[in-house]
Symmetry: C3
Subunit: 350 residues, 3 copies
């Protein structure tokens, strides 16, 4: 038997199958420093131990997206080594805050299988759960991905397409334990905008643009122990029409999220991922721009609300005029991300 892992092909998956992923990973302040150096986030709760403590937390939070990328990375060898495309995310929920010192492991359950009519590929839906060192789930999300078949003739026993929620219900959102915005310092965080200041339908251009270099996306993706060939193997990518290594979509998400500080200074803490699609490939060297739209608002209790936000990223295309998909739902080639999430926001002071 070969000891190198060929990954799973579409016909290897079974509905209800549970995959326990390899490579447990302890998050450290070193990982957090790299996250900061690679994307440039400025949200105060993840930047300052003192600020976080004033908000009832034991110290500054690791960005939930860092945990997401690390958990995602663990699933790659089992789920998407033979993937053609990562199609989307849904029902993502952050259940417990991550701090340096926490160790992450992950499992996935196959919740959907749908062979394509060409019989060469099929779509695999998995619900992945990230767990910490005490066994508590810290995040959960669904993703679906198009995977090659090893053998076109292989019969697929049982197929099903799961019904996925369009968005996580506000009542399901979980705040980091202890979070208390009563002493939130808006000026120190960078802007006075509170929950009440945002209106559904409001659009915000995040103005700034950020180029990403080959070395940067590779370092990020290695940090997450995501080994998908398309990000690293230039020798093989030279045969692709693009001739380029593809940037891991999570790098685009984290870059756009960091850019969103300019306008969403107090909405840094992601609570849920309602959906997300990488609508066009992004290659290193392009400048990433982003804009956001407020899709919904929810009151989460004393001092805190949540904004449902749509984060759209473009390459080499400033977003002053909010470039968007057309009426038929088609995305222009300069758009690269359409990401829908809930974030916690402090309310105005009593």
């Amino acid at each position: 038997m070969s000891k190198t892992d060929p990954g799973n092909y579409f016909e290897d998956f079974r509905l209800g199958q549970v995959l326990r992923h390899a490579t447990p990973r302890t998050v450290t302040v070193g990982d957090v420093a790299l996250y900061n150096a690679l994307y440039g986030p400025r949200f105060a709760l993840t930047s300052s131990d003192e600020f976080a403590r004033a908000c009832g937390l034991p110290g500054s939070l690791a960005d939930p997206l860092l945990a997401f990328h690390m958990v995602f990375g663990k699933t790659v060898p089992d789920i998407s080594l033979n993937a053609v495309a990562n199609l989307g995310y849904a029902e993502g929920l952050f259940l417990k805050a991550i701090y340096p010192g926490d160790t992450l492991t992950a499992t996935s359950e196959v919740i959907g299988l749908k062979e394509n009519s060409n019989r060469k590929t099929g779509v695999v839906y998995v619900r992945t759960t990230g767990v910490n060192q005490t066994g508590e789930p810290v995040l959960r999300y669904v993703r679906w991905v198009m995977v090659r078949k090893r053998d076109e003739a292989a019969e697929i026993a049982e197929q099903a397409t799961p019904t996925l929620a369009g968005a996580v219900a506000a009542s399901d959102l979980v705040l980091p334990q202890g979070l208390d915005f009563s002493r939130y310092d808006f000026a120190l965080a960078g802007a006075p905008h509170a929950f009440e200041d945002y209106a559904v339908g409001e659009k915000i251009d995040h103005v700034d643009g950020m180029a990403i270099e080959e070395a940067e996306h590779q370092m990020a993706t290695r940090l997450y122990q995501n080994t998908a060939k398309v990000h690293f193997n230039q020798h093989e990518r030279a045969k692709d029409p693009s001739g380029r290594r593809l940037v891991y979509g999570g790098v685009v998400i984290s870059t756009a999220k960091a850019l969103s500080f300019n306008g969403l200074q107090n909405a840094g803490q992601i609570l849920a991922i309602n959906g997300g699609r990488h609508v066009n490939p992004y290659f290193a060297g392009g400048t990433v721009f982003a804009w956001s739209e407020v899709l919904d608002k929810a009151d989460l209790g004393p001092g805190v609300g949540a904004l449902r936000l749509r984060l759209v990223a473009a390459k080499d295309r400033p977003c002053t005029d909010f470039p968007d998909k057309d009426d038929a739902g088609a995305y222009p080639p300069e758009l690269i991300l359409d990401f829908d999430y809930w974030a916690a926001v402090p309310k105005k002071k009593g």
Copy 2:
């Protein structure tokens, strides 16, 4: 009201105005590791916990320049988002050593305003103070920067040009608390050269050359949460005559300082910044060389002295013959930095 921050224009500043900057930041060993990876410093006090403890400190120091860059970064959104050029630094003084775990915040006071005769721009002088988590000032410096006016016709009420010291007085220098060079191990630090071995007027070629890549200066600058567009937005920079992203001047300072190890092995600890100018732009890919001149010496008490050093950096130009400005004070295009500072140096053993 737009929620994205347009930054201040020249007519927005007032003499005596105090700006409290956003984004508190906890320094970690992760930041220190990145500082090491990005510049390659070898000074023993910032490299080894054991060496630092033998010198009376609780552990290895974070480089004072790391604190400087982080504090500088906080001021960018308020001071220099609409800057044409960063003109200079003066009266920089490090008041308290920084260790991993410390949290930095910053405020600036406007101490000078001078409109240019074209009425399109003006020079803003600010005195910035970095403060730690217990409210103690850790560093203080003046910088001045040329800022655009939003409206050429705007009247500037009160103007003044501050008188700045040519150098920090040796009597104002503050050593890291506990620092005691009586057990300083010169051989382990890399060279026998002590305070007594340096002569005023002595010039030292640091020999080594170091290229800086786009990914490296971007990672450094993001780490400092410095968001100035010129460093990241390639799409916009493509319209500049250079067509290039500009490297943050602090990256040049830290690179040249790391190169200065070769000749100044025991003068790693910066105590004050007397002045500094980025005399020509530096773009990624160029190889940085540096040389130093001893401008002054000061006895700081038992076992320790200070050298006032001038650090000159060049691009793609070895410094064997100490390239310098001409008699009229004009810098040749290959020079990129003229930086004047005080550093602590151990004296010879009893």
Copy 3:
């Protein structure tokens, strides 16, 4: 006397000479995070505190290669600043595991000197020992390097070529203190392959390919405080026929070692370096591939064995067919590393 260090020339070395190297260095979780970001290793013992604790260790190990690179870096200013080529390694033994917080220093003893017949260069053999903060040796290895003479006419007093072992004896291998594989979780580590599953002579293609960018090898090499000009000084390298900065060989070793996870998932822990040669130069941008061969096996007691492995790396050349030197021992230009080491591997469960 010039204060910049010219390094030692061949005639400066003496048999039996002991060099105490500069720049003590405390290893931190920041260094570990960079190691992960730069190479992408996935071995569980160095990835997860929890996994390491379940194996009897106090927390996740720093990769022995990280300690090796840091110790190697310290020797460069004294041994190889005037080197023409790094010729090889032998008799490398890891004596004590390294954890974040440990501080490394190094000394070298000159154990061989052999002038070349052209009288322009000679080969220096040194045995280098890395020591931790309590004075315990943590690793020891021999390397030999071709060094220029300052003066061709200089006479070399005493010469000798040391006899070096072809491999470290299995009986000399030292396991990390406390290591106990009785609770080793093969599935979590990524594969079921145990000591018993590997056969002498078995070859494994590690499949994946990894490109390394200029920024990446520079950051790695600076992190190790290795200042060899060839890695950083593009201005000088432009005069070389290649026109390129040379990548530090240790970057190739760590990259190939990380790639070896695919097939050697449970053989991550290096115990000894039997030998190693950088058989061709590697420049940034090339895609690194690797394959391994099992050279020997040794029983190390209850639950644990050691594999002697040969790790061969190639550039821009997949290793499906195990590219190798020819019968005359000549390496094709696409091969860049031939590295021989012992690694610990858990045995099958009772």
